[in-house]
Amino acid sequence: MSRLDWTVLVVYVVAIVAFGIWAGRGNKKIDDFFLAGRQMRWWAVGLSVMATQISAITFVGTTGQAYTDGMRFLVVYFGLPFAMVILCMTLVPFFYRARVFTAYEYLERRFDSRTRTATSLLFLLSRGLSVGVTLYAPSLVLSVLLGWSESATILLMGGSTIAYVIYGGNKSVIWTDVVQMAVIWFGIFLCFGVAIAQIPPTVTFTDALAVARTAGRLDIMNTSPSLTEPYTLWSGLIGGLFLMLAYFGCDQSQVQRYLSGSSLTQSRLSLLFNAFLKVPMQFLILLTGVLVFVFYHFHLPPLLWNRGELARLERVAAPSEVARVQSHFEAAHAARRRAAERYAQTREDVDASLYHQAADAFDATRGEAIALLRQADGRAAAPAPAATPTWLSRILGLKPASYSDTNYIFPTYILTYLPRGLAGLVVAVIFAAAMSTLSGELNSLATASMVDFYKRFLRPAGGDVHELLVSRLLTAFWGAFACLIALQAGRLGSAIEVVNKFGSYFYGSILGVFALAVLTPRASAAGAFWGLLAGMASVWAVATFSSVHFLWYNVVGAVVVFVVGLALTALGGRTDRRTG
């Protein structure tokens, strides 16, 4: 990065921390610290909800995925608007009228303390571990591309976020999210515009889309009924609906955002704001990735996107072999370019077929480089022992990791081709995306720890000053924990996948418990609790013994909890519903 890029990045980070501290002043009690005094307007909460969902790795990963796999990932968001409407009609009024701090607090009033403790504990476990991954993943990408120390990147990103969240709580989170979301939107439009501008003038925008279409990058609507095929229209609509219902309805990191609304109307509007904007925004992000894909037909990409791996390849493999693969790669790229230009001019089927052959040959040369790296690794040393024990990998259904450098595509493009100053700004966008997710997660972890555990089991009435102090200490604890996990993540290897899988096992099940609470006045506490365990077990069984795509896991979990909960209630013969 140039000096101007560095200046932009440093000014951005300093300014956002200063703004967060300024915006978060005036907290006197935990209502202020955790729910921003319940005084926020819909547009601020709506932008915060959006910013919390867009993590840095979503931003760089989604564009990378569009490059390698096309836009079909978009279907995951098709269920979101419907989920928002359902939540506005059901859970949001319940939470708001109950004046709760956490979603799980509501479950104690509706069922019993055991259900509240179990669900809140599951949230703390999964979110507490995943917050480290939220911090680690973008830090890894940026450290490789910018040549920074991984630890320094983690501590800069984590430390600056922790500073303003400890001081200002949810007010700081929401107001900085508003700014960060504006920066993210600006960054998306900027990258989109630059990608179009840098395609050669002989290739029109329509030509670019024609090439992308023939390469399968614009395939979105797959109507296959298969449960194992990824990202079909139905898995997006149904699985995506359940995923979004679980995320926005039962995950404290989101619930806490909209509970900060100054009225029920404001809270509902914040979610509907997302319902209108989310799909178009994801479309634009994915289309940017597709345009980068077309762009690299006319500009030579690196042999491997991960600079660290490329340097390692040059270090461990014989120079003559690396030169041979590089030469194949460049020849294949030139052939693909010619085929793309030819197809863009003619749009003939025969030229489409020639393009596919050239594209396959090009992909094969990248495969040669990866194979060479693996081969050289095998000669250099015995493989390192797996971080996850074999028995655990078997139970969780983990497969050996395949080589992937998808997350490096978009940052490589930014740092190589964006004009000076703008590259620093887009790196600031990646920082913004990471910090906005991290801030919301830290604040929600502190809230669940404080309200669902500390205030219940240790000191129910400690006074405003004491409670505010403990809330800040808990924020600091979760921030330090996130940094610690992120610093160790490189050594954890596939344990990161364990963390991600662990979350997917109970997300839908918790949704099932909330569905029981809201939709069935007769459901019993025992039904909810044992239904939750049955739901988690079912998802584990489906994930381990079948090839069903992960978007269906939440459907399985929620439906099993609901059915088992109702059955146990009926068998119990009575309701133990509380009137709280």
């Binding site: 608007p81 419907f82 506005c88 109950a98 979105i220 209108f276 799909v279 009137t579």
Partner: protein, 48 residues
């Protein structure tokens, strides 16, 4: 806690902007989403 026994929030009567009622704004979200999906399907299958 019986949901129906929960007291309505005083601010619940705050007017719904533009659409005036909740059913209308929900319908607008659903219609807008369906139109967006139709446009995406068109974009995806267009013969450029």
């Amino acid at each position: 806690m019986d949901p129906s026994s929960l007291p309505p929030d005083p601010d619940e009567e705050e007017p719904v902007p533009i659409f005036r009622t909740w059913p209308r704004i929900y319908a607008a979200v659903v219609v807008c989403t369906l139109v967006t999906m139709a446009l995406i399907a068109l974009f995806s299958s267009w013969d450029y």
